[in-house]
């Protein structure tokens, strides 16, 4: 009934190769976009934006990035938190004006970047750092690579805690985003309108998803997948492992850097590296793509939504409705997330994305299964 290509004729190659070749699917996509861009900004309040929508959008970008590396290219990474920190600190330095010192003297100071370009620079800097930490992937694989990226995680957090230049020599070692606007509309700071923060992050999320989708179904994505499936075979058919792996690290880190920058500048406004970008952040994003589905764009969104919404939903049900003690609910949440990860790994290793795919297959035949 739904999701059928029957009667849906494509007359050009472009039509045949579009992301959503089935008309029904395409319209659904347009409707979702329309609601997200035009309807949601008018109905949201502070609570919805700051507690649900911003973390969802930002974690979705991080999950997209990690999914490119882990899901598409098969390189396990536990350095996500560290890379998000790079994005956040790069964004901070660019939005407050990068100062270059030499021998105790201020050599020069870059002008303050606009918030939009600061976020982009956060991504660019993280891409560079990501490539550097991706170099060991040429020699080591699997668990050993995971440990190497774990080293990146700890090193980067230590670096941002240790070198005062990164936090502009503030006494507390915290970075806090000053007020910045885009076309006169505040984007960062305490008095930002909820819809503005939401739309700003939404733009980055949509752009990231479109870029990721088109990269993964093009030549570079096929190379990544070839490396993931069997690197020796891929090398024999002419895929350059050096380029494939390093581009995967670069693109992945770029997205993770963007998400780190947004996480700091728009969502939290002030961060402390050890607390906000610790190892638990790396695991959280990894859980997102495991639950959402490795190697899928939709899965990144589903996983992010799931792990952002679940704690809030549990809190609303447990504390606000049933009046349970807050600590019981917090413990329950840990148990449930842990259980879900085990259940997903056993029952559905391909994550929520696979459930969605199966549902779509079923809907093609429904209500006439024969």
């Amino acid at each position: 009934m739904f999701y059928r290509e029957a009667g849906d004729y494509s007359t050009t190659y472009a039509e045949d190769q579009q992301t959503f070749p089935i008309r029904f699917d395409r319209y659904r996509y347009y409707i979702v976009l329309f609601i997200a861009i035009v309807v949601v900004p008018f109905v949201v309040n502070d609570y919805w934006v700051n507690s649900l929508l911003l973390p969802f959008l930002i974690y979705a970008i991080a999950a997209l990035g990690l999914n490119i590396l882990v899901g598409y290219c098969g390189q396990v990474s536990l350095g996500t938190g560290g890379f998000m920190a790079v994005g956040a600190y790069a964004c901070y330095k660019f939005m407050t004006g990068v100062d270059i010192w030499w021998g105790g003297e201020l050599l020069f100071r870059l002008p303050e970047f606009n918030i939009f370009f600061s976020v982009i620079m956060g991504g660019v800097m993280t891409a560079i750092v990501g490539v550097l930490f991706g170099l060991p992937s040429l020699r080591i694989k699997g668990f050993y690579l995971a440990v190497a990226t774990l080293a990146a995680q700890f090193f980067l957090v230590w670096l941002f805690n240790r070198v005062a230049w990164f936090y502009n020599y503030s006494a507390s070692g915290q970075i806090s985003a000053p007020e910045r606007d885009l076309f006169g509309i505040l984007i960062t700071g305490p008095s930002v309108a909820p819809w503005a923060a939401y739309l700003f992050c939404l733009i980055f999320t949509i752009a990231s998803a479109v870029i990721a989708r088109n990269l993964t179904r093009g030549a570079s994505g096929r190379k990544w997948m070839a490396i993931r499936d069997m690197d020796i075979a891929a090398e024999i058919i002419g895929v350059n492992p050096l380029r494939a792996k390093l581009t995967a690290f670069m693109v992945s880190s770029f997205f993770i850097g963007i998400s780190g920058a947004l996480f700091f500048a728009v969502y939290l406004g002030a961060v402390e590296v050890g607390e906000a970008f610790g190892i638990q952040k790396s695991f959280l994003v990894l859980f997102m793509i495991i639950i959402g589905g490795l190697g899928s764009i939709f899965g990144s969104f589903a996983g992010a939504a799931f792990l952002v919404l679940l704690p809030v939903a549990l809190k609303v049900v447990g504390v606000d409705w049933f009046g349970w003690p807050t600590d019981i609910v917090a413990h329950l949440q840990l148990v449930i997330v842990g259980l879900l990860i085990i259940v997903f790994l056993i029952a559905e290793p391909h994550g929520i994305n696979q459930l969605w795919r199966v549902a779509k297959e079923k809907l093609r035949l429904w209500p006439f299964p024969h």
Partner: protein, 427 residues
């Protein structure tokens, strides 16, 4: 079944919907995670005091109080979620008990016009009320603590610390880094040698730090720790046989949880404080009759009289007194957050007031004003007795070195004002 579920849902919504005209005190607590040992007693004390006011006096000025608890796990993201979900309920004052969450909330609470009280933590320069209009940190702050510790050492050494060596073991975060500037200034002033020893979150592994201390042999160690880091540090200090009476913790490193684990070896360990310790205050009788005996104690009810329980109780008492002050100023019983702010800014704590509340000599006397949100900064010293398992006050609440702290507060708050385009003013 459906009908039953529907009934439950309706009942739950009715139970959760706010009762009209009450005074809402959100409690951003943490009963889980690596810092729960400190979060639980504080949250219990905070909640129990308001329960007692409801049961004994029928609220404050005839208006019932309501404590909205929200679990943060000492995590800033959850703290933001808690803030957003509770601020719409008429929350009067926020007390996040986390320096990280405080930094998030300073701009947000100021923009939303809700006061925040960071008692003995948070951003020290918030003591300058001309810049931080909605943030209060009376009666004492981190820099008072650092100076108080040094003053105590001065007293012990007949006013001369020249050539002595002092090490600071600190939680490597915004919280732990706070006293460094003050201690550097004080070391220049008094001529002692100062060394920093950072410990990373959560602080379960401190072997290398204490090895360094054993090698450097400082005369005194000051600690700014929190959570599991404290017990580990006390244990490690005992392991290297560092003399406990020369080991001084800030008030967040001076509760029963921190020393019990090390047993007898912790005997003599010292910690700063800005309020009384123990159960020998009349108010605990009321807590017993009106809260514990009626089965309304928060949490497991086993924390009453511990250091951090007392601190939660003290925080609640100061909030309740600020409410009373606000009710007097505005002549209205059901106050708003804006009135609460005025009440906090006009708060006067006198000995007579505290004695009337059943807390004689519990804390220092102080006044809050628009210029000074930090109180007088009097700090005392407590010491742990491992055989009787009690903390006792060994030095009275004494003033800290405001000649050093004052300029630092002015400098840091002016930097904040410049960053955020705030014109310092009192209205």
């Amino acid at each position: 079944m459906k009908y039953k579920l529907g009934t439950y849902a309706v009942a739950a919504v009715m139970a959760a919907s706010p009762v009209m005209a009450d005074l809402v005190f959100p409690s951003l607590s943490y009963r889980t995670g690596p810092y729960a040992a400190g979060g639980i007693p504080f949250a219990d004390g905070y909640a129990d005091y308001f329960t007692m006011l409801n049961e004994r006096d029928g609220g404050i000025g005839g208006v019932m109080t309501r404590v909205l608890e929200c679990e943060t796990g000492y995590n800033t993201e959850k703290g933001v979620e808690c803030y957003e979900s509770t601020k719409g309920e008429g929350s009067l004052v926020y007390q996040p008990l986390s320096t990280g969450i405080t930094y998030q909330l300073i701009p947000k609470t100021t923009a939303d016009g809700i006061p925040m009280h960071t008692m003995g933590y948070g951003r020290t320069s918030a003591a300058n009320g001309e810049v931080f209009s909605h943030t209060f940190n009376y009666p004492a702050n981190y820099w008072n603590g650092a100076s108080g510790a040094i003053n105590y050492l001065l007293e012990q050494n007949d006013g001369d610390l020249n050539g002595k060596r002092v090490a600071l073991v600190y939680h490597n975060s915004a919280y732990g880094k706070e006293p460094i500037r003050t201690l550097q200034e004080l070391s220049a002033k008094h001529g002692f040698e100062f060394k920093e020893v950072p410990v990373d979150h959560p602080g379960q592994e401190q072997k290398s730090q204490w090895l360094q201390i054993r090698r450097d042999k400082p005369d005194y160690v000051i600690m700014y720790g929190w959570g599991v880091m404290n017990q580990v540090a006390v244990q490690e200090a005992a392991n290297i046989r560092f003399p406990m009476e020369n080991f001084i913790g800030i008030w967040w490193s001076g509760s029963e949880n921190d020393v019990l684990a090390a047993g007898d070896a912790a005997n003599g360990y010292k910690a700063l404080t800005f309020h009384g310790v123990g159960r020998d205050f009349p108010v605990f009788d009321d807590i017993q009759t009106h809260v514990v005996d009626k089965g309304n104690a928060a949490g497991a009810g086993d924390q009453i009289g511990t250091v951090l329980y007392n601190r939660g109780l003290y925080a609640a008492m100061l909030a309740a007194e600020a409410v009373k002050t606000a009710q007097e100023i505005h002549g209205e019983m059901d106050i708003t957050p804006a009135m609460m702010r005025d009440g906090m800014e006009a708060l006067e704590m006198t000995e007579a007031k505290m004695a009337a509340l059943g807390l004689p000599n519990f804390g220092p006397e102080f006044n809050v004003s628009c210029q000074n949100h930090g109180g007088t900064g009097l700090v005392g010293m407590t010491q742990w007795d491992a055989s009787s398992k009690t903390w006792s006050l060994v030095s009275d609440f004494a003033p800290s070195d405001m000649d050093v702290i004052g300029p630092l507060i002015a400098e840091d708050s002016e930097a904040y004002a410049a960053e955020n385009n705030i014109t310092p003013a009192c209205n």
